[in-house]
């Protein structure tokens, strides 16, 4: 079983856009689970010291796959999320 870590990074409490990103990632995770790919979804607070140490300042919402920020400042659609996760495999 292959494992991918997807981090949805946004403000806390989450705004509309981050919730949308998370929903799209969840949809992809569900789809890929059938192929034996596990997508672990984590939510990160964009203004935490931890995130700023790791990634620097980001536009919200951001999506990182396996520790690399791939998207920021916009909501990727399901197709885009799937492509990003497959590329990281």
């Amino acid at each position: 079983m292959k494992k991918i870590v997807a981090e949805v990074i946004g403000p806390d409490p989450p705004c509309v856009n981050c919730t949308a990103v998370k929903r799209n990632v969840e949809a992809v995770a569900k789809k890929l689970a059938d192929e034996g790919i596990e997508v672990e979804i984590e939510r990160r607070n964009i203004v935490s010291e931890e995130v700023i140490q790791k990634y620097g300042i980001l536009f919200s919402p951001a999506l990182a796959v396996n520790g690399v920020v791939k998207i920021m400042g916009k909501v990727p659609d399901v197709r885009m999320v799937e492509r990003l996760i497959r590329e990281a495999l």
């Binding site: 946004g10 403000p11 705004c15 203004v47 990634y55 620097g56 536009f59 920020v69 998207i71 400042g73």
Partner: protein, 342 residues
């Protein structure tokens, strides 16, 4: 596949160009997009019809301006060089201020984008000056608000507002960073080395990016328009029934500038509604100087101050709010005396 992509790109570019060309025509033709209803027009109508007539008045003239604003905001949000902007804004050099006031207005339309960048700048050790300048100028000068201000209140007021907000942002940021509290606060966060390695944004083909841009414009419209409509309903009654004598007595002259700045602060309204309400007040007799103070009275509203307080503490918020108020009054007075009248 390739032709389909090209076709899609051309269609979307055409859609955006349509708004740009129509808007340019409207400006060149001096065709006004401003609502024309006066208090007299509205007062004669049955109660339920007042908002309908007022909104229709806005819609008739405003659809083009709003369509243009949403399309262009979407395009900017998508095509703005994000990493370039963040790199320079967090550099800690004087150019950080310049980037903050020149670039931040074109993308910031939502406080959930703005506050994280503000906090990020501070935590990353970029200095409280540029961070505050950004916090001040991003909502005050955002593109959507600017376009609507030009159309509703006229280019003179809009230009004065934009310039005054830009200058105030830099000065306020700089002054706060020079105070003992500002210095003490800055020392808590040292500059971090760059971590560009963990950010590799994906590149998308142009048609997908244009589509994202338009979708974002539509998303903005969906978020803002319902609020704007509710705001207009309230403004329409306000315009119809608010006593003109009160506005003429209290929102003119030097006192009027101070009162307008005071009123605009705690009154938390989305920028577009603030502009519409400003228009209603101007029709009722508010002076140009007071209008500027009114428009600049946004940075120190309550929700803004609260979220700021959580990040920098009450001392800095207090100085920031007081300075913002002082600059709103000063800009109103200067504009009133030199250009528009008090």
């Amino acid at each position: 596949m390739e032709t389909k992509r090209a076709l899609k790109t051309i269609l979307m570019l055409g859609f955006i160009l349509f708004f740009i060309v129509m808007m340019a025509r409207a400006i060149i033709g001096a065709y006004t997009l401003t609502p024309k209803s006066t208090a007299e027009d509205l007062r004669g109508l049955p109660l339920w019809m007042i908002p309908l007539v007022y909104i229709w008045d806005y819609a008739q003239h405003g659809w083009l301006c709003l369509g243009f604003a949403f399309a262009v905001s979407g395009v900017f949000a998508e095509f703005i060089p994000q990493q370039f902007m963040l790199r320079y804004m967090s550099s800690g050099k004087p150019t950080a201020y310049l980037i903050a006031i020149l670039l931040s207005p074109v993308f910031c339309v939502c406080s959930c984008t703005m506050v994280p960048i503000y906090a990020g700048l501070i935590y990353a050790g970029a200095g409280i000056g540029p961070a505050l300048a950004f916090l001040y100028v991003a909502p005050a000068n955002n593109l959507l608000a600017d376009i609507v201000t030009v159309q509703v209140l006229g280019w003179q007021i809009a230009l004065a507002d934009i310039v005054a907000a830009g200058i105030s942002a830099v000065l306020i940021g700089y002054i706060v960073s020079r105070t003992p509290w500002g210095r003490a606060f800055e020392q808590r966060y040292s500059k971090n080395p760059s971590r560009a390695a963990s950010v590799e944004l994906v590149k998308q083909p142009i048609d997908e990016r244009l589509w994202t841009a338009l979708k974002f414009g539509g998303h903005l419209a969906k978020q803002i328009l319902p609020l704007f409509l509710i705001g207009l309903v309230i403004v329409s009654y306000f315009q119809a029934f608010f006593p003109e004598e009160l506005v003429k007595a209290y929102l003119t002259g030097p006192i009027g500038v101070v009162l307008a700045a005071l009123l605009a602060g705690p009154l938390y309204t989305p920028t577009l509604i603030e502009v519409a309400l400003g228009k209603a007040l101007v029709t009722l007799g508010m002076s140009p100087g007071a209008t500027i103070a009114w428009l600049m009275g946004q940075p120190y509203d309550l929700p803004n101050s609260l979220s700021n307080y959580r990040i920098v503490g009450w001392r800095i918020v207090l100085i920031y709010d007081l300075l913002a108020f002082a600059f709103a009054v000063a800009s109103g007075l200067i504009y009133g005396l030199l250009v528009g009248g008090l």
